[in-house]
Symmetry: C2
Subunit: 201 residues, 2 copies
DNA sequence: AGCGTTCGGATACAAGCGTATCCACACGGC
DNA sequence: GCCGTGTGGATACGCTTGTATCCGAACGCT
């Protein structure tokens, strides 16, 4: 057998190049040739590792979902033993585009989201991600309510849906440059204060 | 002069066809030929009324912004003399995709929003719209505070930003079919109850 | 009535797209 | 050593795209 390239890494480089293009020039600028050029490879290489464009786009979405998942889990795990209030602030705050990397990912995510709305092929890949977050936060809040760390009269499901929608809406306005990340974080904290009470600190 | 067609109406038919395509198959499916076909016209007609594709897309965005503006203004004007709480529920509720028409418009809006994030040419056209709404709601809330109809300790600006982001986030989840319009409206009312108190009814 | 302007059908063209094919080269197992 | 397989460069094909052009038909004005 010939020089065996590391397929996994090669694929990762290509999907990373794809996401770079998607976050700066949009998904409609993602072509096989552009991905190849961005990754410093030839068109044939892109064809070699991804059978067709649909496969490539799906792989890009999977890579992106993995990144976001890693970001959320990483920050959440950074401080186990947090109060509900702190845990919610950390998790929801990790959704907001606070630095250049997370901003780029959020832009790519928005691009994928938009085409998934009308293209059912992409829909399946990204939909389970936010649902998992919703389930996790709901469980966390209900646990806190059971332990007396959160107001029992709250409907956990409603509050979580509200907070997730708020975080997504704030993300959209930050991406549109109507607001800075700091302002968005302030609004998010304001709502958390109101629902769960001020942070322990 | 020959048979003078009604340019205004002809343009409106074409942009309507454009938005129909954008909301069902996405903005990437909007081509000159597709718009012509959808409108039952020939390619030449589309070229005749819109110099190039950028002009066509901009006109589509303007038409869409006009529709949304009309929807909000229409509902807001339907009941002047509303309480703050009622006014906010009506205006913010009109953002949510509650029927097929508003759902189609919201889909088209999301598609335009996504490309505007990375294509600066489209950015200018749609950005002032939400800002105008934000200014209006902030002024309305501050007036209510002055008249004692809303808690004075609220930071009007923060609350309005929060509610608008919430409405946008809920819209996104309704479009993604993670939630029904009824659920979204329930969450929105829940937050309005918390901030402004229950409706007078 | 005729004419010039407005409207629109048919067609052409170059560019860019996804995809397919041909071919050179590297290299580990026999 | 050499051979077959994995890797990838170069190139081509058919299609769709935006845009341009040619030309016929309609109709108000004088």
């Amino acid at each position: 057998m010939p020089r065996r390239a590391d397929h996994e890494q090669r694929r990762a480089e290509l999907t990373a190049a794809l996401l770079r293009i998607a976050s700066t020039r949009g998904l409609q600028a993602v072509t096989m040739r552009e991905v190849a050029h961005e990754a410093g490879a030839s068109l044939r290489v892109v064809q070699y590792y991804f059978a067709d464009k649909a496969t490539l786009l799906t792989a890009g979405l999977a890579e992106l979902a993995g990144r976001l998942d890693r970001r959320v889990r990483g920050r959440a795990a950074a401080g186990t033993g947090l109060t509900v209030r702190e845990a919610f602030e950390v998790v929801l705050g990790s959704i907001l585009p606070t630095d250049d990397d997370s901003r780029a990912d959020a832009l790519a995510w928005a691009a994928y989201y938009a085409v998934a709305l009308t293209d059912p092929a992409l829909g399946a890949g990204g939909r389970n991600h936010p649902d998992a977050l919703e389930a996790y936060l709901t469980a966390r809040l209900e646990r806190a309510q059971g332990e007396g760390d959160a107001p029992r009269e709250l409907d956990a499901r409603t509050e979580v849906v509200l907070l997730l929608a708020l975080a997504n809406g704030l993300t959209a306005s930050v991406l549109g440059r109507q607001r800075g990340a700091g302002d968005a974080l302030h609004v998010l904290r304001h709502q958390l204060d109101r629902v769960l009470g001020p942070p322990a600190s």
